[in-house]
Symmetry: C2
Subunit: 556 residues, 2 copies
């Protein structure tokens, strides 16, 4: 009885009201389990930032209770923050084979491969983590070996879908394990946490295998051309289908792009790929084969700077020159924010005369996430007491809530959560009982969290209008200006063409210095402020720009 | 006979291989006509740049031949560069009433209203410009009073569609003048220049009036709510339909957003709107009416920073507090690049409990541009000898070319042009005969063209990793360091939390200074370079970042 009275606490530290950095903390008594541990890409206003990871301040509070990290799949937004978390808490990590295979590449880069405690679980298996029993349940997604995770506790079962779709004809032959979800649902699921990404899309997501037919007809149509296909590196089922088409039409396959090579090697090594001998060739060997006997699989489906496809398009790829006899297939939709970059790549490829198949043309891409009908199937199958839509912006969570209501759920049992909120669950009740620190930690180079609002504000200021430095040396003895003021600018105007303006700035600065050093005393308190204000005001009146003004005064 | 032997030269200075800054130069003998004169919005990498205008270096070469600027419609990408051009060449401008009405607001801001020579033409009218006769032909677009322009010359007729769609049931009652285009086609059009924006969209664009039905049903559904509709300020037909729905349901209409107020005032003044008395109220008066008797029409349909809807969403609008009883309709699709901004606004509105209708939901928006079927109709009707797809990125121009081929055009009579290319046309021939200077001129504040590649490169560098300034004073007499080196950083790290790092940088700089000032001589040539390299190298090793290193050395 005592045990049953314990409550489960659920604390998302990422993945809600945002796309990315998924991390959810589950607590029961003295045990803490972390589900996923992802990164996010920086927003446009996070200048110079490489990646964003969740604020894990709260984990320090429960450090000695953490029994492990369980992973749903190997996408960056679910595993990308693991190196940063393991550096602070080297807890065991549990994932499927491919998930850990991809994670290993990442840990190697961070020098953590030896120390990390990685444990492989197959879908269908479970692991005990304190009072939690974590059960891996097979799902379908745009990466192989994805799982939902059921956390069994004495206070009830929690089901987290991870990212999923329902694919009745998947490439690996195994549909998401609806039977197990249904079984758990019949026994009673306390709370369901389900993927909201496509909550505003009606109907069903097409099967990954529908792409195979598309490739087949495109390969037939482009029989006399070299074919270049760009897609997400981690979508090995997509790559498998490209290889299938290549084999059918007697083409060799070469791979370009670091992440594509890495993931494919891991997938081959772990036995996830079915590639006939002598199909794969090295990118250096493509010259040895006729063009119409080649397929090149590349990264760059999002128009990423320096990705393989972008380098091909802008003629800076060392191995591949784009030609009018090339057929380029971009087998991906642009993620919001990448539309322009993809468009630029398409335009460049077309300018070289290549044929380009992209976006919604010809069904060259399907989503990895469930649409509305599938979401409702999961809710109806799981029949949870409580429902928490996860993995989406606020608008997606709201839509997912609407879908749950359509299945007959009680509105007061649905919780639209936010990161840092603490949801306390028991058989009889669910409520938000508090908040913990949460947010974005910015990673810039080796710095984790040392770029904050002040630094970003300065970068934005510098980016908009550049900097004007007013530097002078004051003679302490005579209280007069010993050198300068000199004016140095960066990112403001092209100085050679604006010498008059710079001379005028110097005059303004000289005027201020003169006034502040009258009578052999120096009005230190106002010297810097006045240089800043008067130079700034002068420049705004002349240019309607507001560069950062930085007065530097040395004493000798 | 002599006259006929003269050739027409066509030189686009903007609008090809890009969206925006449309400007095309037409030359015949001693006469030059400029068609449209627009601006573009800066790309993401043009940090701090306000707008982009075409490089008009070439116009200086033909300055004394320019007979005027003819305008197709009042959108920014067709009129936005006029103030900058008129400052250099105060040539007459010809446009329809609404186009000039909107232009006047712009000229006023630039202090050019008095000096500008504006001439109003109605669709159906013509004006003689040297040997050119410019004929205005009514079209449909997402702004009222749009025209195609036929340029009649002794060497043949050129037809430029401007931006258009074929709307058989437009709000102003007048379909695009297909009859006149057909008539010109029968007589013989030498070259057609046609809008390529939607060249990759099959079928037809829906009629603007289809939106009326959507508003009608949304207003009925939201009968107990305040309704806020965001749309493009210049789409006065859309605004008219919002007003129609408001009138039908007995609501007052208030307007928020500077450009919306400006355009609407111009449209009302010129008689383009049909608004019953006592329908429009001042935004300050909204408190006097019940919420369910109000409609607010706002700017911000693209999620623009500081636009009315964005201010409403983020609770910084002075007059409007968003509430759960609000229905917000975003009657526009996000322009590529604006998806995230719009999504953020939608999320914020939803968090306040408002209902939000947006994007492709419920048909709240239709395009102002023709789709493939309409494009083919124009080509088949105009039956031009030569065809030049305009107004689009390369991929759009290519698609438009394909459509022209489908209508039976000879591939060698279709020209995919680029800005700066000179196309020479006669009854018997068409060919690219050369290039002229062309490109992007960046406007930042009052500066036109003073922000170039070096400045942008510096801004990008500053934006990514900030700046480290190493400043010291050298005593000329003793050849020693009299003050400093001091280290100042901006946009690099938050200094208070990185004092150790900054101290270490100082040590590195001191070391360099010591080595370069040995034996009472100063190795000037290497001092700056070594500070730059050694401080830069040290920081990269410690942080994997590359801030701009700026050594400043003063002499006393």
């Amino acid at each position: 009885m005592l045990k049953k009275s314990k409550k489960i606490r659920v604390i998302p530290l990422g993945g809600l009201n945002e796309i990315g950095k998924n991390l959810t903390v589950f607590e029961y008594g003295n045990d803490v389990v972390i589900l996923d541990c992802g990164m996010a890409f920086p927003d446009d206003d996070m200048l110079g930032v490489d990646i964003v990871i969740p604020d894990i301040t709260y984990l320090h509070k429960v450090a000695n209770k953490i029994r492990g990290i369980v992973l749903t799949h190997g996408h960056e937004d679910h595993i990308g923050a693991i190196p940063y978390v393991l550096k602070e808490f080297n807890v065991p990590v549990y994932g499927t084979r491919l998930t850990l295979g991809i994670l290993k590449n990442k840990l190697k880069e961070h020098g953590l491969l030896r120390s990390a405690k990685l444990n492989t679980l197959e879908a269908g298996e479970s692991v005990r983590l304190g009072e939690f029993q974590a059960e891996f349940i097979h799902t379908n997604h745009s990466i192989a070996d994805a799982v939902a995770i059921a956390l069994h506790t004495p206070a009830g079962v929690l089901l987290h879908t991870g990212d999923f779709k329902i694919d009745p004809t998947p490439i690996d032959g195994d549909m998401i394990d609806l039977a197990r979800i249904g079984e758990l649902g019949k026994k009673g699921i306390l709370a369901l946490f389900s993927d909201s990404t496509n909550a505003d899309r009606p109907g069903y997501t097409m099967s990954e295998s529908s792409i195979g037919k598309t490739f087949d007809s495109l390969f037939e149509r482009g029989a006399d051309k070299r074919i270049i296909v760009a897609t997400f590196a981690s979508n090995i089922h997509r790559v498998q289908q490209i290889i299938n088409a290549a084999v059918k039409y007697g083409r060799k396959v070469a791979v370009s792009g670091r992440s594509m090579v890495n993931v494919l090697n891991a997938a081959i090594e772990l036995g996830y790929m079915n590639i006939p001998k002598n199909t794969l060739i090295d990118i250096d060997e493509i010259g040895r084969y006729p063009k119409d006997k080649l397929v090149v699989v590349t990264t760059g489906s999002q128009g990423e700077e320096m990705s393989a496809l972008t380098r091909i398009a802008f003629s800076i790829h060392k191995k591949i020159n784009i030609e009018p006899t090339d057929l380029v297939i971009i087998s991906a939709n642009p993620i919001p924010g990448n539309e322009k970059a993809v468009s630029n790549v398409v335009n460049e490829l077309l300018k070289h005369g290549a044929e380009v198949i992209h976006e919604r043309q010809d069904n060259v891409h399907v989503s990895g996430h469930a649409c509305q009908q599938e979401m409702k199937i999961i809710i109806s199958l799981a029949r949870p007491k409580y429902f928490i839509p996860v993995h989406g912006e606020y608008r997606h969570l709201c839509k997912h809530r609407e879908l749950a209501l359509q299945t007959g759920m009680d509105p007061k049992n649905i919780f639209i959560m936010d990161i840092g909120k603490v949801l306390e669950l028991s058989q009889d009740s669910a409520k938000i009982v508090g908040t913990v620190p949460s947010g974005k930690v910015l990673v810039d180079g080796l710095g984790v969290g040392d770029v904050g609002n002040i630094v970003l504000r300065d970068r934005k200021h510098l980016a908009e209008d550049g900097i004007i430095i007013v530097v002078l040396t004051i003679d302490r003895a005579s209280c007069s200006c010993a050198a300068g003021p000199d004016i140095i600018s960066r990112g403001f105007v092209y100085v050679r063409e604006s010498e008059d303006l710079m001379d005028a700035v110097k005059d303004v600065a000289c005027g201020v210095v003169e006034q502040c050093t009258r009578g052999n005393t120096i009005d230190w308190s106002t010297l810097k402020t006045r240089i800043k204000n008067e130079v700034g005001g002068f420049l705004f009146s002349k240019t309607k720009r507001r560069p950062m003004i930085l007065p530097i005064i040395m004493e000798v």
